[in-house]
Amino acid sequence: MGVTRRGLLGGSAAIGVALPLLPAAAAPPPPDAAGEGTIPVTLHVNGQTLALNLEPRVTLLDALREQAGLTGTKKGCGHGSCGACTVHLDGKRVVSCLALAARCEGRAITTIEGLAQSGAQSGAHDGALHPMQAAFIEHDGYQCGYCTPGQIMSAVALVEEGHAGSDDEIREWMSGNICRCGAYPNIVDAVRDVADRQRS
């Protein structure tokens, strides 16, 4: 009753249950982030201030997922190759798997969870989808959905950077985000749609 996949996998109390469900290729669990050798780290995520205790080696990705409970940001390769972990740092897209959380203090971090708020035209935090999220749904820009948060974070940045001038330009500037399902044509459609609407 009331148990969702997201709730089961997302809660820290459920980690012991959740780990066996992860695909075999998933990276090993992150280092213990609350034990000896931790340092206080204050992160500004989606407009909220989070006071955490982290080992210096903890990546921004692991801090977001394991400490902040923001599991929308996905761990793919852990080596910056796939883009599944893309977030915005001071408004610029980065791969959070190659950033150390302790080096992100004082910087504005936006994750997929923060996009709906910032996209609400009224400014009200009413949970309305960001136009890019709505466009991915409308154009069927995903299949399994695992890469989707990273794709959307990259796509939002791409449009703001002004790199949506043509389909080829969109493909080039989305090339840091891999989709093993191969939803690329629909992703390009979604990005172009949002860019066209912003121009008109």
């Binding site: 080992e55 080696r57 190659l98 950033a99 150390l100 080039e172």
Partner: protein, 320 residues
């Protein structure tokens, strides 16, 4: 993946004396650490003490070591005065990584040779004296220039190839003081010490890159050939620059990437261009020299012709 401490030095001088492992963008160091290739105990954060500035002055273009790849690639002065640098950066990595990676760090990216990055294999660069499985193994992506019997690992970054072609210098600071050297002299061929990629001294840190302005630099280009359309390391790449006056080539610069143990200057290509008319025949003949001195391994002889053609295409693009 042992834990480490993060140190935030109060000054560059303090950083050079820290004895730790420098971190700038961190995009390569974190990967090397995740693969247990690097096991830093102390990570020294250069972010607050390094230069984030791009400026143009009498010496030419000055790129602070902490400037990101994206910032340099997009800078209007770089795009107009040194286009090969901008193009090399835009053909590097992904937009996300270009927002993180820095000028100093990109110069020092370590080889992507699969044996170096996997501690399950021997590697003379990672574990001196353990052997080089690449020489008889999977060496398709590795160097055809500058290798030794101990190592044929390729220098992977694009930007240094453009910088070496354009005669860039690097400004360095160590506990013993500062010095400025040609970027080409920063790099080392593996010879019998493949564990050392560079001539940096203990504690020495990169402060800035300085690139002279020239007519040739304004007429420069970077062309990269790779296994997929985007986001891959070079199989072969070419940085070229021509100063053409009334149809005659006054100065020519050429360097190759993806093929050398370090950014590989092509002096015989340059010599075949200088003083000659910028004709299709001269360009074709000069590009043939791109293969001069190549010593391919068992699986990468294809790179010789690929490089010659890459150089020719690049030359045509700037001669037109």
């Amino acid at each position: 993946m042992e834990n480490f401490a993060i140190v935030r030095p109060a000054s560059l001088a303090a950083a050079t004396q820290s004895g730790g492992t420098f971190i700038a963008g961190g995009t390569d160091l974190i990967q090397l650490w995740q693969n247990n290739v690097e096991q830093p105990r102390q990570v020294v954060d250069l972010d607050a003490v390094g230069s984030h500035d791009i400026s143009v002055g009498p010496d030419g273009l000055r790129l602070g070591a902490l400037v990101t790849m994206a910032e340099t690639a997009e800078h209007p002065a770089v795009r107009s005065g040194w286009p090969a640098i901008s193009q090399a950066l835009l053909l590097s990595a992904s937009p996300q990584i270009r927002n993180m990676g820095t000028m100093g760090g990109n110069l020092l990216q370590r080889t992507r040779c699969g044996y170096f990055r996997d501690t399950g294999f021997a590697c003379n660069k990672r574990a001196p004296g353990s052997g080089c499985p690449a020489i008889t193994g999977d060496n398709r992506d590795l160097a055809i220039f500058g290798g030794s019997e101990h190592c044929i690992a390729t220098q992977p970054s694009d930007m240094p190839v453009a910088l070496v072609a354009l005669g860039a210098n690097v400004v360095l600071q160590s506990p013993q003081g500062g010095r400025t050297i040609p970027l080409a002299d920063l790099y080392r061929a593996p010879a019998d010490t493949p564990q050392r990629d560079t001539n940096l001294r203990p504690g020495e840190v990169i402060i800035a890159i300085v690139v002279p302005a020239s007519m040739a630099a304004r007429r420069s280009a970077y062309l990269k050939v790779r296994d997929r359309t985007s986001y891959a390391f070079a199989l072969a790449s070419a940085a070229v620059a021509l100063d053409i006056d009334a149809g005659t080539i006054r100065d020519a610069r050429a360097a190759a990437g993806g093929v050398g143990v370090m950014p590989w200057r092509l002096p015989s290509v340059e010599a075949a261009l200088r003083g000659k008319p910028a004709s299709p025949e001269v360009l074709s003949a000069a590009a043939q020299h791109a293969g001069d001195g190549a010593t391919p391994a068992s699986n990468n002889a294809f790179k010789v012709r690929l490089l010659q053609r890459t150089v020719l295409r690049a030359l045509r693009s700037v001669a037109a």
